[in-house]
């Protein structure tokens, strides 16, 4: 880095901390920042700092939020008798984009993966149990990913909740809407076939 002026070297180094950014991209970004208008650079800097300072996990559902509880948890129009359990906040955003789900969420902040040392105690499971036990919940929808780890997590949560006597459901998997059977990948199609239902 000795061929950069100090301030520039520092900027390149900071960019390199980001995922997927290597030395060359970091350098390109840094040079781009130097060419930007000063007010745009300041806006970027304050957006970074603001996001870090103001965004926290909601203490009810563990979604990313700028208020406690988050806007979804405090929305009176939402159906508080249904909880949708997801792995991460980005999964919640995906669910929200459907505009068809009007219940509440619970973000686990991960999924079971012994290979990475992630067990039930690492996830937001006691918090989920506490929420459900507090009453008012009629159905829990398990919307973890259809990966091996996501399925195991769903199964673990289902077993955890079963004794409480409420309805526990798992989202279906299969052919994407608007997808052509011809172009659906073979594994997905095979799974969809296995999961077929009576009509």
């Amino acid at each position: 880095m000795s061929h950069y002026p100090d301030a520039l070297a520092r900027l390149v180094q900071e960019f390199m901390r980001l995922p997927g950014i290597g030395p060359k991209t970091a350098q390109r970004l840094a040079f781009f920042v130097l060419r930007m208008e000063e007010r745009d650079v300041l806006a970027l800097a304050s957006a970074l700092a603001d996001a870090k300072r103001k965004i926290q996990r909601c203490q009810v559902c563990y979604n990313l939020a700028d208020a406690q509880p988050c806007r979804i948890c405090s929305d009176p129009r939402r159906d508080s008798s249904i909880l949708c359990v997801v792995e991460e906040a980005n999964d919640l955003i995906a669910m929200e984009k459907t505009r068809t789900y009007a219940g509440l969420y619970h973000v686990l902040e991960g999924c079971l993966s012994p290979l990475e040392g992630i067990g039930p105690e690492t996830l937001r499971l006691p918090e989920l149990l506490k929420r459900v036990k507090a009453g008012g919940t009629k159905e829990v929808i398990l919307a973890t990913n259809p990966t091996v780890e996501g399925e195991a997590t769903a199964m673990y949560v289902a077993r955890l909740l079963k004794p409480l006597g409420l309805k526990v459901t798992r989202i279906a998997r299969g052919i994407p809407v608007g997808g052509d059977l011809e172009y659906t990948d073979e594994a997905t199609l095979a799974r969809a076939l296995e999961g077929r239902r009576d009509m």
């Binding site: 997927g20 290597g22 012994p114 040392g117 997590t153 199964m155 673990y156 077993r159 594994a187």
Partner: protein, 381 residues
Amino acid sequence: MEFEQAELRCFRLYSRLAVRFVPGVNVLTGPNASGKSTLLEALGVLAVGRSFRGAGDQEMLQAGQTAYYLEGRFAGRHGSHTARVVYSQTEPGAAERVSPPGEEGAPSRKAVTLDGNPVTRTAEMAGRIPLLSFSPDDLALVKGGPVERRRFLDALLGQTNPAYRDHLSRYQRTLAQRNALLSDMAARRTGAESAATRLEPWDESLEAESAAVQGLRKEALTSLSPIAAAAFVSIDTRVLDLEYRPDEFDRRRRGEELRRGLTLSGAHRDEVLATVDGREARRFASQGQQRSVVLSLKLAALDFLEEKAGEKPVLLLDDVLSELDPRRSASLLPLLLRGQTFVTTTDREALVRALVSKDLLEAVGGWFSVGGGQVNLETGP
């Protein structure tokens, strides 16, 4: 299915090679280490995405190069297709060039396309170009441990059944997770009740995927064994029996698993027992008989592939005929040479003699000489 042409760049000893093939039998002659097997290996990589010699992509790079390029044009029932495999070694900074901006994780180092469309999993390719290879190393199929025979079934089923690939990869992933959990709990001496709660979700999917894998293996073996037995009788006049022995996942072994930190039952412990006249081929059959068993299995696999794909597979015979005694190899030729076949040999005269004895000389469409990084079509034997 037939390869029409292939292009290799920076692939082992080939700097740049373009070669056209013929339908029927293609004979490649050349001294040892002249590049015969390498050409077959390249065809294998194009069709099933991996080396039949078990080599990694890194090993297949030409010395001093950082990338290889393979392209193959092949014709099947549904017209002509082009498969392309490009592998580039990761070097400092290479990650940025290959992976799309903003994408996390390892860069994609191997790009496989079929008619220009990216194939995300090389296994997907395997279903499109039915191909079977046969080399002297395949003797391990009989001589080696159960893992060799499972690998044979896995490759065959993976080539013909996408659902199998999916079940097997989920099984292997679940197994790895469950083993990690068991070994962690063994070290911590986790109590039985807590262990049960933690294991159950993995047990459930391991049991389901294991049963799915075993069901398909059983089905495959049911259609393979009579064909293999019939082939064996014609070569060796003895009785070859293939018995599938699935190791069903058994939850009752949990106590022992917790002590040893390992999954002790399931599809990863299946065995296929081959017996000749009732005695285990691995331990009691002669070297010649063992070769005949392998050959019989390969013939059965060829039938299996042809039936599932609905067209004749490409067959790669790497230095195989020289391994068999003349009587055995001659009796096999008519069984083997049905679709497009690539045969390598160091001894062209011996091959010609064997072909003549079975009236098969006409089946050979092209005689190639291999050496010095070049492959040349000759006018005749």
